[in-house]
């Protein structure tokens, strides 16, 4: 009989070794080194993605910047960050966690992306995540990430500038996400992260106005999980590079849906709100419980199986 301890949920993405397949998603508790450290130590995350960092400090959009809806969260933080210069200390502290640190960056041109990626690598990041998908910051994110030619150019420029793996985080708000993923692969990218939030709005009827100060925000949480699972499934049919699935993962079964669609690892963001900072431990345990019940001994045995059945 297989005991729980024998369940192997280790995974590896572009050479980054993870003790479990759960990563902290960008934008959640990723602004300081100590909060990142805590998500690994107390939370049990297998890897950490920082908040998206730009060349200069940004205060982001005004409040309200987030609210909870019936089936998810809607946010428009507006990429607040202290700027790449001030972020070295945070990466150095996060590195004490001994799990891979993935530096998320945003910029408005391939050269700025490459510059930021070099700085982030110099700060000590183990990999780079390109934010090509923020839905609510003018001139950034999805505005660049919807065009396969621009995406390929950004990825290629960054890959040539640094020695560490480069992942691209994609938006589901495109007609064919797999073609964007293919552009990442053609540019030499080492992995695809899917999906970012989807543009949404919430109006307070009593006030007769949108709640968010930016009016439009990004929808995350359980509402977008089927969109993410579909996106990962479609991407897995088109590319060979690893896929990191993200969007509405609250439980081990949610994570397994993404893994069976073709994800090698998953990210969790809004789930920290729903289940607490130790959601990474909880989801890892639930994945192991599922594997034991269903006679899987390696995570690899589940990756992408829904795509071949």
């Amino acid at each position: 009989m297989i005991t729980l301890d024998n369940m192997n949920i280790e995974t590896s993405i572009a050479g980054l070794k993870m003790e479990n397949p759960t990563m902290l998603a960008s934008g959640i508790l990723g602004q300081t080194g100590r909060s990142l450290l805590r998500v690994a130590k107390e939370g049990g995350a297998g890897a950490l993605v920082t908040k998206s960092i730009g060349l200069e400090a940004r205060t982001g959009h005004g409040n309200p910047g987030i609210l909870e809806l019936d089936t998810g969260l809607l946010n428009a933080m507006g990429l607040p960050n202290p700027g790449i210069d001030d972020f070295e200390e945070e990466v150095q502290i996060a590195r004490r966690s001994n799990v891979p640190i993935i530096g998320s960056i945003f910029a408005s041109s391939p050269d700025d992306f490459a510059n930021l990626a070099s700085r982030m690598a110099g700060h000590g990041a183990d990999a780079i995540e390109l934010n090509l998908s923020c839905p609510h910051a003018q001139g950034y994110g999805v505005e660049m990430g919807s065009d396969p030619i621009i995406v390929e150019s950004i990825v290629k420029t960054v890959v040539e500038a640094i020695q560490i793996p480069v992942f691209a985080k994609l938006s589901p708000m495109v007609p064919d996400i797999a073609s964007i993923a293919l552009a990442v692969e053609k540019g030499g990218g080492h992995g695809v992260v899917a999906i970012n939030t989807m543009r949404g709005m919430s109006i307070e009827p009593e006030m007769g106005m949108p709640v968010l100060s930016n009016k439009i925000g990004g929808l995350s949480g359980p509402a977008i999980k089927p969109v993410g699972v579909r996106a990962v499934y479609e991407i897995a049919q088109k590319v060979k590079i690893p896929i990191i699935g993200v969007g509405g993962i609250n439980t081990g079964r949610d994570a397994i849906e993404y893994i069976m669609a073709g994800a090698n690892a998953v990210q969790i963001g809004s789930g920290v709100h729903y289940r607490g900072i130790d959601i990474f431990k909880k989801v890892s345990q639930e994945i192991q419980d599922f594997m034991q019940k269903n006679n899987y001994s390696q995570l690899d045995e589940m990756i992408g199986i829904a795509g071949v059945k």
Partner: protein, 267 residues
């Protein structure tokens, strides 16, 4: 330990009354109460449509709730002009509040920091505890809840910056005198962080447990954005009330906070 998910949905609520409380301080009464019994120090995010959304502690919650606010900027000034019937948005309550323990309690308020202490003072009195309250304020006319506290029969000690009432100078000097003469089981405080850092020293010196309510710039209020981070703890969710043991282990307490971009800045 199970995770308690604090709902962060927005609710529109109606202002029932707007009363002056003290110099530059007013109290809004709103047609809303928290689902569970409120602990002093727990807070809500208040949305002032078209202006801002700010964290605000509740100064009472019974059949209605009250917010006691000092006018310090556009958001609080706008709230100060609100009239009965006007609407604001509310999310929460969030965070961990004061937990008075022991029989002989010393409450210390710096300015409008009296507001989050009020629910704890009221509860402590209902439980028959002995209460001493030291208040530091700019002047005698800036002391909130004076009538209510007097009618409750609370022993109030006052320190003012301008000497218009009570001890002239820091409330911490007053507290040193109280600690020398009294035998307190616990200190509960809210006010400027520099004041609370000094109180933590005094509490440790006198071996008295202390709880402090902290303030940081907040975006989400629900423990996920990281803007109120202090040494990896989120003031909005892990606090805003922290015990002395936790605070003693923090590098940032009394020294630095984060600006709106996340840059570390000194007090």
């Amino acid at each position: 330990m199970g995770h308690h998910h604090q709902n962060a949905k927005m609710h529109a609520v109606t202002i029932l009354a707007n009363r002056p409380e003290a110099a530059n301080i007013f109290t809004l009464e709103i047609d809303w109460i928290p689902r569970d019994k409120l602990l002093g120090g727990q807070f809500v995010m208040i949305w002032i449509p078209g202006v801002d959304e700010i964290p605000m502690s509740l100064s009472s919650a019974n059949t209605t709730s009250t917010l006691t606010i000092q006018k310090v900027g556009e958001a609080s000034e706008t709230l100060g002009r609100m009239k009965p019937g006007d609407k604001i948005g509310i999310k929460g309550p969030f965070g961990k509040g004061f937990e008075p323990t022991g029989q002989n309690l010393l409450f210390i308020a710096g300015g409008v920091g009296i507001a989050p202490l009020m629910p704890a003072i009221v509860t402590a009195q209902e439980q028959g505890k002995e209460i001493t309250l030291a208040i530091g304020a700019a002047s005698g006319d800036a002391i909130a809840f004076r009538d209510k506290l007097t009618s409750m029969g609370i022993d109030i000690r006052i320190a003012t910056d301008d000497g218009s009432e009570g001890h002239k100078g820091f409330v911490t000097t007053l507290v040193e005198e109280l600690l020398a003469g009294g035998n307190y089981d616990q200190i509960l405080t809210c006010g400027p962080e520099i004041m609370m850092a000094k109180l933590l020293e005094l509490a440790n010196l006198n071996k008295i447990p202390i709880q402090c309510s902290l303030e940081r710039y907040m975006k989400c209020g629900m423990g996920i954005c990281g803007s109120c981070d202090i040494d990896g703890l989120q003031v909005c969710k892990d606090g805003p009330v922290f015990d002395g043991q936790t605070l003693a282990g923090l590098e940032d307490f009394g020294k630095s906070k984060r600006d709106r971009s996340g840059k570390k800045i000194g007090f």
